[in-house]
């Protein structure tokens, strides 16, 4: 670690937690302005030690895997920290919420818990009995109900002897159900990455974090739990479902707790901004914000502009909307927009024709140029290659798969050697994301599997979806553009499915489809083969609330057999029941 400035000179995560001042505030779990709980680091340490004792009493020890299935909150965090204190290896799995399809949840829970082969599974007292059968249990697995317990004296608690190279915890790759991949990370790797992150974020003891991100996701776990825990910063937290029910609560919490940092997926910027007319600007004061970091989806400049336009009246300081490219496999951030200089992500305009035909970037100021927002500069200790389909390294400005090597990355997927061999080759992690490097900045343009290739031109579904979403009759964000391979033509064709805002609009479907077709041809110079307008709530959404591309694709093909003839694919109900995404 000689080249890293050590902001946090600890060798293990328990050491970092125990070094916090007892009186310093740590986490506030916020439900409403009259319903919240704040604990100090001192109280949190006692809670964690209480959970550690409970786990030890139940036979859990060094290097044992502990599965935690509890609602977002302080008790879950204490269970996680408690497992760390005894050198066990915790893994947080998604908790069932009312908006998750129970069948899909059961399937995911079963697969993931079986792969983890846990020594103990800790669920909260309200975890539904009928779901317990879906938690894998071996002969030696203990099923425990979490109970809040505090050790009388955290300082007297005997922390296990842990080496920096020991696995600290397992975090799962994105998504909430399906057979997710578990990434095992060592204490040393996590701490090394947090030191790097502190450097690029120019973190100070005055910072404080806001989050509604789930703790089973890397953004929620690393940026919004491990970082404040190790850096001894306050955290104001909500549950994802409670935030989605009340989007403006995010602004309320940032105002109340004077939060300086938050990580948000791109959809949040539009989702909150488009409800801005329901808010009274005097209610919120966002002047404390140092950075709202757009992360985990391709970054759209338009979404960030909308957010800034809506909330500068709430004193959101200029140049505070940042970007980041992150994943569980590299602990968290691969790149981060520069906090110095202009203080905002670099944006470039590129010739659309050249981009689509040659998959390369030529700067252009034409009206039809594509805009790309950088995901920032590589975090120190990280290297990136841009690789072509045939495995060649591409030059700056050419689009290919992003492969990453860092000094704090996964050793492999937990108990999945097969998946590890597929994704990690020669020490490089192949992300499945497409992007390019230019002038030292990394640009992420989409998922490799979502790219539509029409007659040799590269079309990104997001560009089509943005045009369709802008039509007043279409429900914003509920549009999916797909490439379906036409076996006769030997190329992909674009098929779009979009939800209308009001069912009544379907009476004018033909007219709307025509307008949309013209707009797509006008802006992108490609034609969609078919546009299907559907009533509200037709598109299948993922548990994160975003349109689920592969499941919607299957639904569309089932409802429109004419497309199956086009692609030569068939979809029966049996396949749809086991689909994951």
């Amino acid at each position: 670690m000689s080249d890293i400035k050590l902001h946090y000179p600890y060798s293990t995560l328990p050491e970092a937690l125990m070094a916090a001042e007892d009186d310093a505030p740590f986490v506030t779990m916020w439900h409403a302005d009259d319903d919240f709980e704040t604990v100090t680091f001192g109280k949190f340490k006692k809670m964690a030690a209480g959970q550690a004792v409970y786990l030890r009493e139940n036979g859990v020890g060094l290097k044992d895997t502990v599965v935690l299935v509890q609602p977002q909150g302080i008790d879950l965090m204490a269970s996680f920290a408690g497992a760390l204190l005894i050198g066990a290896v915790p893994a947080i799995l998604a908790y069932p919420t009312f908006k998750v399809d129970p069948a899909k949840y059961r399937f995911g829970l079963n697969g993931v818990s079986a792969n983890l082969r846990a020594r103990a599974i800790v669920v909260d007292e309200h975890f539904p009995e009928e779901l317990l059968a879906n938690l894998w249990r071996g002969d030696n697995t203990r099923l425990l109900r979490s109970v809040r317990a505090e050790a009388a004296d955290a300082a007297g608690f005997e922390v296990a002897a842990i080496n920096p190279d020991d696995t600290a915890f397992i975090q799962h790759s994105a998504g909430t159900t399906g057979l997710q991949k578990g990434v095992a990370l060592s204490h040393g790797a996590v701490l090394k990455h947090l030191n790097r992150l502190a450097e690029v974020l120019r973190l100070t003891p005055e910072d404080s974090v806001y989050s509604w991100l789930p703790l089973y996701h890397d953004m929620g776990l690393i940026a919004c739990f491990m970082l404040p825990m190790v850096a001894h910063l306050p955290l104001a937290m909500q549950s994802p479902t409670e935030w989605v029910m009340q989007p403006k609560s995010m602004l309320e919490v940032i105002t109340k707790y004077r939060s300086t940092l938050a990580w948000l997926p791109n959809f949040t910027y539009q989702f909150v901004a488009r409800r801005a007319d329901e808010y009274d600007e005097k209610e919120f004061d966002l002047s404390s914000v140092r950075a709202l970091i757009n992360c985990s989806e391709p970054v759209r400049g338009s979404s960030m502009d909308e957010f800034m336009a809506a909330f500068k009246k709430c004193k959101l300081p200029p140049n505070t909307l940042h970007s980041c490219y992150a994943m569980a496999e590299t602990v968290f951030a691969v790149s981060q927009s520069d906090f110095g200089g202009a203080g905002a992500p670099v944006r470039i305009s590129a010739d659309s024709d050249i981009f689509r035909k040659e998959h390369s970037v030529a700067k252009s100021s034409s009206e039809k140029a594509f805009e790309f927002v950088s995901s920032g500069r590589l975090v120190p200790g990280t290297s990136v290659r841009i690789v072509s389909d045939d495995g060649r390294d591409l030059q700056e400005g050419f689009v290919g798969e992003i492969a990453i090597k860092s000094d704090a990355m996964l050793n492999g997927y937990y108990n999945r050697q097969d998946l590890t061999e597929k994704a990690v080759r020669g020490g490089w992690y192949f992300s499945g994301d497409l992007g390019f490097l230019l002038d030292g900045e990394l640009y992420v343009v989409g998922r490799k599997k979502d790219l539509i290739i029409v007659g040799g031109e590269n079309i990104y579904p997001q560009d089509i979806e943005e045009i369709v979403s802008a039509h007043p009759a279409i429900h914003d964000g509920r549009v999916i553009a797909l490439g379906l391979f036409n076996t006769k033509l030997g190329t992909e064709e674009i098929v779009i499915v979009a939800e209308v805002r009001e069912e009544g609009s379907l009476a004018n479907a033909e007219e709307i489809e025509k307008t949309l077709s013209n707009e797509i041809v006008g802006e992108l110079a490609v034609a969609a083969r078919r546009i299907y307008l559907k009533p509200p709530k037709w598109i299948v959404k993922s548990t994160a609330g975003k349109p689920a591309r592969s499941t919607t694709r299957e639904k569309l093909l089932r409802e429109h057999p004419e497309l199956q003839i086009l692609t030569g694919e068939t979809f029966d109900d049996e396949r749809s029941n086991t689909a994951t995404h």
Partner: protein, 84 residues
């Protein structure tokens, strides 16, 4: 049938199910029967909050708590807090 139940029946029939000829009652299974997509429950829960004038902490609501209108109202009574 009380007013809250009737309002929820009307809302779910007209705004969520949107199929002619489908009528539901207070104890009709909605999600487990496939009538209501579980993701539409965000809107349904917001309507339950509006109708009952309660704030319901979404983090404390399980799928089974939302399967019928009777269960939704029982859940509101159990975990809801009167709006201030």
């Amino acid at each position: 049938m009380n007013e809250a139940t009737q309002q929820l029946i009307n809302y779910i029939q007209s705004q969520v199910i949107r199929k002619k000829g489908v009528s539901i009652e207070a104890d009709t299974p909605l999600v487990s029967s496939g009538l209501v997509d579980s993701l539409a429950l965000v809107d349904v829960l917001a309507e339950v909050e509006r109708v009952t004038k309660m704030r319901i902490p979404a983090g404390k609501v399980q799928p089974k708590d939302m399967d019928t209108i009777n269960l939704m109202l029982a859940t509101a009574a159990r975990v809801g807090r009167a709006r201030g």
